[in-house]
Amino acid sequence: MKFKIIFSFLGFLLVIFIALPIFKMLVAADPGTLVETAKDSEVYSAIFLTLRASLWATIAALLFGVPLAYILARNDFKGKKIIEGIIDLPVIIPHTAAGIALLTVLGRNSWFSKMSGIEIIGTEIAISLGMFFVSVPFLVNAAKEGFKLIDERYEKTAITLGATPWKAFLTVSLPMVKKSVISGSIMMWGRGISEFGVVVILAYHPVTAPVLIFERFQNFGLKYALPVTALLILISLAIFVIVRIFEDKKR
């Protein structure tokens, strides 16, 4: 009994630590100001840009990350640990550092920029790429763990029934790992939305919501930053709850 009480108490403290500031902030912003803020075109275009850019990043990660996750889950090869380390790296390095690193590859004087003549710094593409860089580990790792849980013999059975490896992957492995992939995608999308460090370096403009919050706080103080923050949190919360409910209903 004592055991349960102590564990519950420790957990309660943690939840309070996260919930309290968010709650305080939401009540501090009065509904009138929130509606006003939502009508501010700079605010809503920043919020939609944030949601959209992170969505592009997540879609790109599905295309590139799921195959990689599959390879990592199914095979043992030399250098696998190194690749896994590289994938985890964006989680542990400061995201401003990640932004600097990306600048060396995508920046105005980079080899990429000179060869292609394409200027992507300061565009939505740069924002998406930055978000992709820092949030893709969530999707790859979730999908990898999902594939690991699936017995390879399901795929082999599909192959003996006449399926090609492609067909077996699409009709057996992928549907079975769906839950992990969706869960990883939601995590990645959410992580992308919240990203500040890498985005502010790759593209101060067009401003994303986190950058806007920072800008308003810097220039006008807490009172002006608060409504934007509250709005972003409310919208994010609503989207994630809806996606989760939708996902639960489907199974």
Binding site: D151, R153, Y154, K156, T157, A158, I159, T160, L161, G162, A163, K167, T171, V172, P175, M176, K178
Partner: protein, 337 residues
């Protein structure tokens, strides 16, 4: 055309196959018998072309005509029973109407009509097995590869399933290759069998021949032989820790013998018989099992003898009783290694 495996070597994860040579006749019920970890599944996966051998050749198998049933059946959990059965047909792009008819027919044949719309996750072991068989048979395989298909079932169902496989084999006339660790199962099912131990085929032949004449001590042990002893043989006598037993072999620096427990007669008094081996001993243990009673008799070495319940009652055997054990020289099997 016969299925041939020639000089197959394969190293895969913790499993190794060494120099496998097998010829499996068309339409035969062939059993690969071996302890777990011997590499049995690996042979099936090689035959099915799911993995490639490191060296060696496999011929005489049409990979488009294979049915493979794994232990635990591997029914796709995201599909219903009917969708599982239809999988191979759908992959082959058969028209939907034809698939429906075929699946319905298979469901009747394997007694699973009532399961078609069910989630496969909630089926019992026996039901899963029948769905798996229907799924494999849907593509009309000429080779059916069975990987411990009864291991997940309880004993009664396992025995029933054996006759179902025999029946299926008769009806389809396909080549069956069945992997198991259960030698009773192998004995019941096999036209011929191969014993696989530590990645090598150690013996191959008709079940009776293999069971009656295991090639060496390792095989005898695996086949459940009791009363296996080793010692020096001189002038037709083997020395087993001081006990001299007459054997059908003149001289050997070392040999193993197996005295089949069915061939040992135990009695209260010494038997008047032509059998050259007769020993006085003490009953050490009396162990009841479902059909027989095992008596362990200490004659200097421990002999295990099976008797019926009735003879146990008649002889009134208890631990500590003095008894005689008698067996013929000709009933002893000898292995050089």
């Amino acid at each position: 055309m016969n299925l041939k495996l020639q000089k197959i070597n394969k190293h895969f994860k913790q499993f190794v196959l060494r120099d496998i040579n097998l010829e499996i006749q068309e339409g035969e019920y062939f059993v690969i018998l071996g302890p777990s970890g011997a590499g049995k599944t690996l042979i099936l996966e090689l035959i099915a072309g799911l993995i490639k051998p490191d060296t060696g050749e496999i011929s005489g198998v049409d990979r488009q005509k294979i049915g493979f049933i794994y232990q635990d059946y591997m029914l796709f959990p995201h599909l219903s029973a009917a969708e599982n059965i239809a999988y191979g047909l759908k992959v082959k792009k058969m028209p939907k109407e034809d698939i429906k008819t075929l699946v319905a027919g298979l469901a009747v044949r394997y007694g699973i009509e009532h399961l078609l719309d069910r989630d496969v996750v909630n089926l019992s072991g026996g039901e899963k097995q029948r769905v798996a068989i229907a799924r494999a048979m849907a593509v009309s395989p000429r080779f059916l590869l069975l990987d411990e298909p009864t291991a997940a079932l309880d004993r009664n169902l396992r025995i029933k399933t054996r006759s179902m496989f025999l029946d299926l084999h008769k009806k389809t006339a396909a080549t069956f290759i069945h992997v198991t660790h259960d030698f009773e199962e192998a004995l019941t099912l096999a036209d011929r069998l191969a014993i696989l131990i530590n990645g090598r085929v150690v013996q191959c032949g008709k079940p009776d021949d293999v069971f009656n004449n295991p090639g060496n001590k390792e095989i005898a042990d695996f086949l459940g032989y009791r009363n296996v002893f080793g010692g020096v043989v001189k002038k037709g006598l083997i020395d087993l820790m001081g006990v001299s037993v007459a054997v059908p072999l003149d001289d050997a620096e070392f040999a193993y013998i197996a005295i089949l427990s069915d061939d040992i007669i135990i009695s209260k008094r010494r038997l008047q018989s032509s059998a050259r081996n007769s020993f006085r001993g003490t009953v050490k243990d009396v162990i009841n099992s479902s059909s027989l009673v095992e008596v362990v008799l200490d004659i200097g070495i421990d002999l295990s003898v099976d008797i019926t319940r009735k003879s146990k009652e008649e002889l009134n055997i208890k631990p500590g009783d003095p008894m005689w054990a008698t067996f013929k020289v000709s009933s002893i099997k000898v292995f050089k290694h």
